[in-house]
Symmetry: C2
């Protein structure tokens, strides 16, 4: 009984993985169910056995995608004992995922964009956005704690700043610009220097 459920869930996950690969490669606009099936080892009909329809399939993938992203920097936060360690570890991870998984990131921005047109995805996208914001905030507050200060902007502003920088770097990376990752590191460093003060005075102006 439970093994049946497990196998069912495993197949769903397998098909979801194929869907994510296809979406990352082609983008939302040009991803079809037959294309997804060709990226798996099954035929196109099986997708309607494991998922109600296309929206159900993609929604499930988006939810699964969330789990991958959100814990990316947790280990860095947990192990760093100095500001420099945390900053370097964070920048390393950031540059690494930019270079190694740009397809997954452009997929995320593609889906977030779709949520501006389609009500369907809005709730899931908003939930992921919120958890990404919390992730960024964990990093920044831990950094400020190690420095002995507090951030000068709110969590949502902090997230928007990082997101803007990362998105710009992503566009450049996918356009083939060699310096994209290095520029991202420099940009994040510069912004953090302005927004998380190094000295102990909390600078209320």
């Amino acid at each position: 009984m439970t093994e049946r459920v497990d196998k069912f869930a495993a197949r769903r996950a397998e098909l979801a993985a194929a869907t994510l690969r296809t979406l990352a490669e082609l983008g939302y606009a040009r991803t079809s169910l037959r294309e997804i099936a060709q990226n798996s080892e099954f035929s196109h009909g099986v997708l309607h056995y494991y998922f109600r329809d296309k929206v159900d399939l993609i929604t499930h993938c988006v939810r699964e995608y969330k789990a991958i992203c959100v814990t990316r920097y947790d280990q860095v936060v947990a192990t760093a004992t100095t500001p420099a360690q945390l900053q370097e570890g964070f920048l390393d991870k950031l540059a690494q995922t930019l270079v190694e998984e740009p397809q997954m990131h452009r997929l995320w921005y593609d889906l977030r964009n779709q949520s501006m047109f389609e009500e369907t995805f809005r709730a899931d996208v908003a939930a992921i956005d919120a958890s990404l914001e919390r992730m960024v905030w964990r990093v920044v507050t831990r950094f400020a704690e190690l420095v002995g200060t507090t951030p000068l902007v709110t969590p949502s502003v902090m997230y928007a700043l990082f997101d803007g920088l990362f998105q710009q770097a992503l566009v450049r990376q996918l356009a083939g610009e060699a310096g994209a990752a290095a520029d991202l590191r420099a940009a994040v460093t510069a912004v953090v220097a302005q927004v998380v003060p190094l000295d102990r005075e909390p600078a209320l102006r």
Copy 2:
């Protein structure tokens, strides 16, 4: 002769406007030539009389869209004589366009996202991005000039920060959140306060 050319160009512009309306409403993924034609006063066949194919049509629209955006804050920059005037004028325009034209803005982000998947749009999108960056930089440097300081970040970082904030506000605005525009004003104000110092010391740390 020239009137023929003018009429031809006028029709192209008319169809391009219908295309932009359709794209802003439906997004790139769900915009078809027949839908565009229904948003104009012509039939679907005429689009291939004035444009080579769909890519040619959309590329032309993207280029035309550029002209609308880039001059948005020029008058504010030209007329403001105090930092407060410039800041208020800029924030007003920013909040106004967020509330009044959110469809056009989500279209821009949609097209920029497509450029991460389709080589075709990449050059045009990059050109628009660069001119938007210059626009932001004109505003910021003029502001710094009026204050008597210089910005602490590069033009591309500055643009990425504003873009991140605006995009976040846009998602919220389109989700129906009432405070999106007000939050954007506050966020931009807070970031500018950190990145363009009010005092005369250029804060090289």
